[in-house]
Subunit: 430 residues, 2 copies
C-alpha cells in the first residue's frame, strides 16, 4: 500500500500579455497561467501525479489557495483504494458538505477539485503504463459508469442509458483505436485569429495554417463589426473556399445583438459561432441557435459543469459541445459530459490552447472516439501553438492532426525548470 | 478627498456544527462562518466599511484569499469618486479581464466581489448617516439604474424598463416608508425546522414560533420520506391550519423524484417548495413547478447571479424569488435581481439566517417595498434566531416582523470581540 506524501501547489504565470497572444473581445491581455499541483507518493516507483487549472493571470493565487484547501482530502491517504474508486473520490470532493457552499459545482472551488482529480488520473495512468486515453479506453462500461455521478442528470441520462452507449461502442473499440493510431485526430487552429494581431499577421498566419494542413481556422470577433467583416474577408481570401472558418465572440454580445451581428458575418461561410453571449445563458443560446441557423452555435469552455451542459443539450442551445480539461471537476465530469453529448448526438470539439489544455484534452477526445461516441463526424480539437515546450510530453500535431500520445500519463506534467522559472512571486502586484 | 487605507480580511468561524443548528439534507454539519472584510479610510470621520461572504466552514480560507485578491482594486484609491460611481466600480470588478476567467460571475471570486461591494455600501450609508434601505430609497430612478449592469439582461430587462419600474414607485415612496416604519416587514422562521432536531424539539419550537407571532415556518425535508411526513404532521398539528408551512429540500432531489416526493407532502398545505434540485437546473425547476402546482417553487440562495435569475423568471422556473445578501456581487447585483423580479411580477422572499444575512438582507427587502416593487403581497424575510449577538446592529424582529433599522450602514458590522474570538487559526485542520 502506498500513500500520497507530498501535495505541492504552485502559481505559474507566463507573461503572454506582452505579445497579445490569446487576446480576444473579452480577454484583452491574458497572462496564460496555471494553478499547478504535483502529488508525490512513497511508492518505490517514484511516479508523480500532475494536474492544474488553467487561468489567465490575476487570481491564480486564489485558485492555488483552493487547491491547497483540498490537501487534507488526499494527503497521507492510502493511494490504491483511492485510485481504484475514482468515482467515490469525485463524490467525496464535490459533495463535501461545507466546501459545496462555495459553488455548488462551479467556479474556483470546482476547478480546484478538477486539478486534484486530474492529478490522480495522471498518476493512475502512469502506474498503468498507459496514456490516459488508452487507460480509459481499456476500462469496461461498468467501470466507466462507476466514475460518473448521475445525480441531477437522471432526467436526461441514466446509468442504464450510459451503460448502453458504452456497451454499443465496445465491439468497434479495437478498429477505431487502430484507425486513430494510423490517421490521428483532426485539429483546427486558432493561432491566426487573435484580435490583437495586425491584418498582415492575420493573413500570413491564415496561409501558414492551410500550408500546415489544418482544415479549419478560428477568428476572434465581437469588438468591431467593421473590423470583423474586414478581417473575415482577409481570412477567407487567404484560405480559399475549401477551408472552414469558425468565429468566436467570447461572450461579447447580448441575445439580439448576436443574431443581428451575425447577419454581416454569415456571407463568409461560417463553420460555427462560438460563445456569442454569457456562458450561463442557456435560453439566449437557444434563441441565438434558432436565429443564426444553419450556422451551429458552439460553447462550453466556461461551462460550469454537467448540469449546465445537460440543459444546453435539452434546450438545443448548442450544436457543437466544447469540453474543457480544467474547467469542470476533472476526467470524471468530462466523461459525464461526453456521455450526455453522445446521448443527444451532438459532436464534441474541445476547447484547448491556454497552458497545457491541448496536452490533456486530446486524451478525452481520443477516448470518446474509441469508447464513447465512436464518432469522428465534424469533430476536431482546438490547437494553439504556444507554451507546449513547457510540458514533458508536448502534443504531437502535424499535418493538421493530433497524433495519439504514447507516453504514460495524462499529458499534464510541466517541466520542473518551467515551474521554477515562471513561479509568480510578487503577489502584491497580482 | 479621502482614501481607503486599510483592507483587512478575516476567517471567522462559529462552531455551530456541535448543536446541529443549520443542519439540512445537504448541509449535514455546517460551521456557520464568514470571510469578513473591514475597510478603513484616512477620513477624520473614522467611519469604516464592513462586508462579508457567508460560508459554512471549510473553504472560508479560500474565500478570504479571493477577497484579498481584490485589495489592489480599492486600497489607496480616492474614496469619493468610487462611492459616487458604485456602478462603475461593480463593472470594473466583475469585468476584470483576468479575474473573470475564474467564474465568470459565479462562485468564490464573484462572492468575494460581493463582499467588497457591500463593504463600500456600508461605508457609503454610514457617511450618509442613513441605514442602507433608506439611502437606496432616497436615490433617484436614474441614480439607481446607473448601479445596474444591463449586459446580458437586455432580452428581459432594459435600462428603460428599469427606469419605468422605478419611476412608477416614486409617488408612493413616502407613504410606503411610513407604513413600513409603523408596521414592520413580515418575517418567517426556519428556527424550528432543522433536520438534526428531535420531534419534541420540533414541536416545541413550532408552538413557540406561533406564540412569537410568525405566520409562516419552514421545515427542512428530503432525507427520508417517512420522516418528512411524520415531521410535517407534528408541525401542522402544532401550528394549526392558519399558519403557513414551507418545505426546503436543499437540492436533495432529481427532477422526477421531487415531483413524486411532493405528492406525499402536499396534503399538509405547503406554502412553497424550496430548492428541490440543483440550483443551476432551470429546466428541471420549470418542470417541477409544473409538476407540483399549485405549490410555488422557491429558489435563489445559491443563484449564481443575475443571468441565472433572469432565466428562472423567463422559464417560470420559480414563483418565489429568494435573493441572498452575499451570494452575488453585492447590492448592485441584487438591485438588478429585484428589478427583474418586479418586471416579471414575482414576489421576493430573501434567504437569511447564516451569519449576519438577516442583518443585511432586510435592507434590500425594505428598499424593494419602498422604491422598487412597492409590494407586500406574500413577501417575507427569512429569520433564524442565531448569531445576531455578534453584530453591532442586530436585527429587531418581534411580533413576527422585521422592524426597520435606524442605524446608519448596511447592518454588516460584526463586533471586534467576536471577530477576534472566532478567527480561525488552525488551517491545517480546516
Amino acid at each position: 500500500m502506498s500513500r500520497i506524501v507530498s501535495f505541492e501547489a504552485s502559481d505559474v504565470r507566463f507573461p503572454t500579455s506582452s505579445t497579445l497572444d490569446g487576446s480576444d473581445a473579452m480577454n484583452l491581455d491574458p497572462d496564460y497561467s496555471a494553478a499547478y499541483l504535483r502529488l508525490a507518493t512513497d511508492s518505490a516507483d517514484g511516479l508523480e501525479g500532475h494536474g492544474f487549472v488553467f487561468t489567465i493571470g490575476r487570481g491564480t493565487d486564489v485558485e492555488v489557495a483552493a487547491i491547497r484547501a483540498l490537501a487534507p482530502y488526499v494527503l497521507d491517504r492510502d493511494l490504491e483504494p483511492m485510485l481504484d474508486d475514482m468515482g467515490g473520490l469525485w463524490r467525496e470532493l464535490v459533495y463535501d458538505s461545507q466546501l459545496r457552499w462555495l459553488g455548488p459545482e462551479k467556479g474556483v472551488m470546482h476547478m480546484a477539485i478538477g486539478a486534484v482529480v486530474n492529478a490522480l488520473w495522471d498518476l493512475k495512468a502512469k502506474r498503468a503504463g498507459l496514456p490516459l486515453w488508452q487507460l480509459l479506453s481499456s476500462m469496461t462500461p461498468e467501470q466507466l459508469v462507476d466514475l460518473v455521478d448521475f445525480r441531477y442528470l437522471s432526467d436526461a441520462l441514466t446509468r442504464e442509458d450510459a451503460l448502453a452507449i458504452l456497451a454499443a461502442a465496445v465491439p468497434g473499440r479495437a478498429a477505431r483505436e487502430a484507425d486513430l493510431v494510423a490517421s490521428g485526430y483532426a485539429a483546427y487552429t486558432t493561432t491566426p485569429g487573435w484580435l490583437g494581431y495586425s491584418d498582415e499577421k492575420l493573413e500570413r498566419l491564415c496561409r501558414e495554417a492551410v500550408a500546415d494542413g489544418f482544415l479549419q481556422i478560428k477568428l476572434k470577433v465581437g469588438s468591431s463589426r467593421d473590423d470583423d467583416v474586414r478581417r473575415l474577408g482577409i481570412a477567407r481570401g487567404a484560405v480559399g473556399p475549401g477551408i472552414r472558418i469558425a468565429v468566436d465572440a467570447n461572450q461579447r454580445w447580448d441575445r439580439d445583438e448576436a443574431i443581428d451581428w451575425m447577419r454581416d458575418l454569415a456571407p463568409f461561410d461560417i463553420a460555427w459561432l462560438e460563445e456569442p453571449t454569457n456562458p450561463d445563458d442557456i435560453l439566449s443560446h437557444a434563441a441565438i441557435s434558432r436565429g443564426v441557423a444553419p450556422i451551429p452555435v458552439a460553447t462550453g469552455e466556461h461551462g460550469g459543469g454537467r448540469v449546465m451542459f445537460k440543459q444546453f443539450l435539452q434546450a438545443d442551445a448548442l450544436q457543437v459541445l466544447q469540453i474543457d480539461a480544467t474547467r469542470v471537476a476533472g476526467v470524471n465530469e468530462n466523461l459525464a459530459i461526453l456521455l450526455l453529448a453522445a446521448k443527444f448526438g451532438v459532436p464534441v470539439c474541445p476547447h484547448a490552447g491556454g497552458v497545457g489544455l491541448c496536452e490533456i484534452v486530446q486524451h478525452l477526445s481520443m477516448f470518446d472516439l474509441v469508447a464513447v461516441s465512436g464518432k469522428k463526424d465534424g469533430r476536431m480539437i482546438e490547437f494553439v501553438d504556444h507554451l507546449h515546450e513547457h510540458f514533458v510530453t508536448p502534443v504531437d500535431v502535424h499535418d493538421g492532426r493530433y497524433w495519439p500520445p504514447t507516453a504514460p500519463g495524462a499529458g499534464s506534467e510541466m517541466h520542473d525548470a518551467s515551474i521554477r522559472e515562471f513561479t509568480f512571486a510578487d503577489r502584491a502586484n497580482a
